[in-house]
Amino acid sequence: MTLLALLLVGLQQQVVRDDQCIKCHEDQAAEVKETMHQRAGVGCVSCHGTDEIVNEKHKRTSAFRPAKLPQIAELCGSCHLAVSEFYWMSPHADAASKDDGEPKHRSSCSACHGYHTTTGASIKTIMNECLKCHEPASHEVVEAGSFFRTMGDYHHALLQLEEELARLDRAPGIRIFDLKGSVEEGRAALRRLRISQHGLDWKRLKADAAASADRTSAAYNALAAREGSFARRFLGLGLFLGLLALSAVLVVRRARTLQGESGS
């Protein structure tokens, strides 16, 4: 009897899919369209409800949910594991867990990255979000601003090194193989910092970014030094040509001496 009841219910039910959602939720669908999440297969049901069997009039069921702030962080963290780990250690996670409608408690992923568009957050966006709750002169904002400036300098130094390496990629006489490794390490460090910045440990983050920037600058300076060293080959050539000229003078003098001897 139970099996029969389930079968009858099942005939009236359907599996919820994104293409069914977007029939009504066109605006949200437009926001999600072409995002990285859509390309990665993260759809409506990923955040708003599982693809379990529900009644046709889904609003009356509990399977669909408006995404709550703590749930958002959990949902994002189910894929973005490393970022999530740092986020849950931060004061922002504690604040967001309250989710009582207060602006200061809306510090979840969506605050900086948006809901449906889910873009990478620019520094301007992040700082604007900070200022919604924190005073401009507050310790947090000052430290965050300082960190992001260091990150900006680091990113700039890394791009500069990459440009130089690309320019000298096929230049003879200038070794770059080991410095290409520095760029790889630099990119990895940048990725790590962008992840760990969600933990808001600004002092440590700034120290790490500064250390990475120093390593990148050292690689850039090493490259410039190698270019300078290669340019000094002209000095060696000058000395060598001088020696050759001296040899030529000696040969000519010897020839004249011999001619003089044979003439006398």
Binding site: R170, F177, L244
Partner: protein, 320 residues
């Protein structure tokens, strides 16, 4: 020293060489050192090539990377490679001048026909050395060059001989490498030895009645070699040999030009196709081999026409 001399006779051999180089020169023989300068460049090629062979990897997938490593990572690798590349250019240029000078003086005539023929064979081997050497970096230019050479060889039914298969690939590089580092040096050693022996036997044209000794040739040779070393060092250091893009690289040009010595054939082949290409490839060497046996006037007129044509085609090819 006497112990070494008694057993090897090296001192006597050196005295004999000095005596041979101290023979008096005939009038108008200022260019007689060109052959010796060419031999100097051959020695440079052998030595620098041996050093390059330590790091070069003759593999289809690794050849380009190994050349990049030589040019960028190996200490003074760029210099050795630049010397090898520039010495090759200077060698072919010197041999061409030597050939034109001997032709203009009619020094190929009896009894020096064999000297001329061996010299022409040497010139052919050097052109082969230049072609196969250009292939070894396996950059875009090399692969394009191999395809063009295979297209010419197809007219003689020998495309597969150049490629080592139906397409330019790993077997092409293997045979180019073998040709460049084994067959070319062996041919050079044998032909240079024969050429020198013949020059020693017949002496320079016009020098037969001259007796005694003269230091003039040795002094000219010394100055010429100093000049050759200076020119080679300047070119190699001021203009280090570049690294071409690998085949199919985004910045690799679709069409490339051959080395300057092949420009006349490259330019002429633009207007010629089919069996006529065969004539283009065979007439110049056939003429050079026939020169000693042609009437002087016919040889001079034909040679002058061929030389002028080659120079004009070379300039057009370079400008195209």
């Amino acid at each position: 020293m006497s112990w070494i001399e008694e057993r090897t006779g090296v001192g006597e051999a050196l005295r004999s060489l000095k005596a041979r180089l101290s023979r008096p020169l005939p009038q108008g023989s200022a260019g007689a050192v060109l052959g010796s300068v060419a031999i100097f460049f051959i020695v440079v090629q052998v030595l620098s090539g041996a050093l390059l062979a330590i790091y070069y990897v003759p593999s289809w997938n690794e050849a380009h990377a190994s050349v990049v490593r030589i040019a960028k990572d190996v200490t003074f690798g760029w210099l050795v490679r630049s010397v090898h590349v520039w010495s090759a250019h200077l060698l072919v240029a010197t041999v061409l001048l030597h050939l034109v000078r001997v032709f203009a003086r009619g020094a190929y005539a009896k009894p020096r026909e064999a000297t001329w023929l061996v010299g022409v064979a040497l010139f052919g081997v050097l052109m082969g050395a230049a072609f196969t050497g250009q292939m070894l970096p396996m950059d875009n230019e090399a692969v394009n060059g191999a395809e063009v050479a295979a297209a010419y060889a197809r007219e003689m039914g020998m495309a597969d001989v150049v490629r080592g298969g139906p397409n330019v690939g790993a077997p092409t590089l293997t045979r180019m490498f073998a040709a460049h580092v084994i067959f070319v040096p062996l041919g050079l050693i044998a032909l240079v030895a024969a050429h020198l022996a013949l020059v020693g036997r017949h002496r320079l044209k016009g020098a037969e009645p001259l007796e005694g000794t003269s230091p003039v040739f040795l002094h000219r040779l010394g100055l010429s070699l100093i000049g050759a070393v200076g020119l080679l060092a300047t070119l190699a250091i001021v203009f280090p040999a570049g690294i071409g893009p690998p085949p199919n690289a985004p910045d690799a040009p679709a069409a490339t030009k051959p080395l300057w010595m092949f420009l006349p054939v490259y330019q002429a082949a633009k207007k010629i196709s089919g069996p006529a290409t065969l004539l283009l490839l065979l007439v110049p060497p056939a003429f050079l081999l026939a020169v000693p046996f042609l009437p002087r006037r016919l040889a001079v007129v034909t040679g002058a026409l061929l030389l002028a044509g080659a120079v004009a085609l070379g300039i057009l090819g370079a400008a195209s």
